[in-house]
């Protein structure tokens, strides 16, 4: 059965100086979109950080396609096919739009540094292919961004920055995409656009698994196939959005009774 699941965690936990940010968490995701909800400080982002290798779990195992990831560094995990976005927009402000997107292809490109120096045609071919891919990925969301490809990120509006970040995460065709509050800081209209964008990724036929953290329940209800609710580092509910939203524990944790 394991082989069918894209990602599976077994009793994963992490301590920060006595504080158990995540505790004995069992989680699995197949070919689906899972919403991860929970109040602030419940360990959602920490959980993503464990999966993407930024934190090492102090207990348990993370298994991706039957392979244990515990000892892997973030870059190795990205190479396995897990990519992510961040809560606050973390694009490289000193790079242009296209360079940011190309960054997402880094682990896919094969040019070594001596080829970059000595075999110009090969390197250029690969970069040009990469640019085509990046433009393809970003025009799904907003074709206008392509026209601004050679501008610095700092001149791009917030919603497009989010799109660029997501495009950067999917341009390398990952198997598992981790989205950390993609709608934070967006207004209602922009949130609607973002929901559409994420739906496009989900339905693109790439069979990509998505874990999405969100505070906005309207997003979760529209996008996710399944919802997992965390509180104080532990899973307190799991199921479809309707099931979870009616769960007593969830209401207690979330709405303060």
């Amino acid at each position: 059965m394991d082989a069918l699941k894209t990602l599976k965690t077994e009793k994963v936990g992490i301590n920060f100086g006595g504080l158990k940010a995540v505790e004995k968490l069992d989680f699995e995701i197949g070919d689906e979109t899972v919403g991860l909800i929970g109040p602030n400080g419940s360990g959602k982002t920490t959980f993503l950080n464990i999966i993407s290798g930024i934190y090492k779990p102090s207990e348990g195992r993370v298994i991706f396609k039957g392979e244990e990831l515990n000892s892997f560094t973030p870059d190795a995990i990205r190479k396995k096919g897990i990519s992510r976005t961040f809560q606050t927009n973390r694009l490289c402000m000193n790079l242009s739009v296209i360079d940011n997107l190309l960054l997402g292809l880094y682990c896919e490109q094969k040019t070594s540094w001596w080829q970059a120096i000595f075999n110009r045609s090969l390197a250029m071919q690969e970069i040009n292919r990469g640019i085509d891919k990046c433009f393809g990925a970003i025009s799904v969301f907003n074709p206008e961004i392509v026209d601004r490809a050679y501008e610095l990120i700092s001149t791009i509006p917030l919603i497009d920055r989010r799109r660029i970040e997501i495009a950067r995460a999917i341009v390398g065709r990952p198997k598992l995409l981790l989205l950390d509050e993609p709608t934070a800081g967006l207004n209602k209209e922009e949130t609607h656009q973002m929901i559409e964008d994420i739906t496009k990724i989900r339905d693109s036929g790439d069979r990509i698994s998505i874990i999405i953290i969100e505070h906005d329940m309207s997003v979760i209800s529209k996008i996710s196939d399944r919802v997992v609710c965390l509180n104080a580092g532990q899973k307190i509910a799991e199921g479809s959005f309707e099931e979870v939203s009616q769960n007593e524990n969830v209401c207690m944790a979330y709405l303060g009774g």
Binding site: P39, N40, G41, L158, G185, K188, L255, G256
Partner: protein
């Protein structure tokens, strides 16, 4: 009490606020709503004097404060609760609190205010020696509020007290704000994204979008406005 008249500000060439006029009367609670990037925090910084307006003026108690530097503005009776990271993490709760009363020289007054504040936040009294850096998100918000109260302000500027808090904690924070609102001596200018909560405690509200005030009115009225409904609720 506080009057912002036709204020504009720029960061470099980028205009942030355009011709903004806002007023707060004595003892009144006013909220400013707006999405990210609408210029809410810039407005607050402009009031405090951290950003100089390029046009317009700001009056406080009928005195011009838009050309004062931050410490002079604070001295004149305005207290600020910053958005996040508003505490001194390596200092104890006690030091943080007493730094709030920076311009008060009368020790008795400070003590008296401390009594008042600790009656609003009873937990503070028990944990005076704890380092501020070890508090949870909600507690930090409370402590910044308490610190603002320590200066005995005429006006408190609150920057997004609900930001980054879990729903349960948000309720808690707003309960405290309500307590302060009931004290008729203090005016509050509340900057919020959470429109429902904010309009709940405020008497009047403004809606800020892309640097201009597009709507203003009494809370009840604003609540029913179609635009606010669509964008913020």
């Amino acid at each position: 009490m506080l009057e912002i008249k036709n204020v504009s500000t720029k960061y470099g060439h980028l205009p942030i606020l355009m011709d903004v006029s806002i007023s707060v009367a004595r003892g009144e609670t006013v909220c400013i709503l707006g999405a990210n990037g609408a210029g809410k925090t810039t407005l607050l910084k402009t009031i405090v004097g951290m950003v100089k307006p390029t046009a317009g003026e700001i009056l406080f108690d009928n005195e011009l404060i838009s050309n004062l530097s931050p410490h002079q503005v604070v001295k004149s009776g305005i207290a600020i609760c910053p958005e996040r990271e508003g505490l001194f993490p390596k200092m104890s709760i006690e030091s943080n609190l007493f730094l709030g009363a920076y311009y008060e020289t009368d020790k008795n007054k400070i003590q008296q205010r401390f009594e008042e504040v600790s009656s609003i936040f009873p937990w503070i009294r028990r944990r005076l020696r704890q380092k501020a850096g070890t508090l949870s998100g909600g507690e930090r918000k409370m402590l910044t509020l308490a610190r603002a109260l320590m200066s005995g302000p005429k006006l408190i500027l609150m920057d997004e007290p609900s930001l980054g808090l879990a729903p349960a904690t948000v309720i808690e924070v707003f309960n405290v704000i309500k307590k302060i609102v009931n004290d008729a001596q203090i005016s509050i200018l509340l900057i919020e994204q959470n429109a429902q909560k904010a309009l709940d405690v405020a008497q009047r509200g403004y809606v800020l979008q892309k640097g201009s005030v597009i709507l203003e009115g009494a809370s009840k009225g604003l609540c029913n406005e179609d635009f606010v409904q669509r964008c913020y609720l």
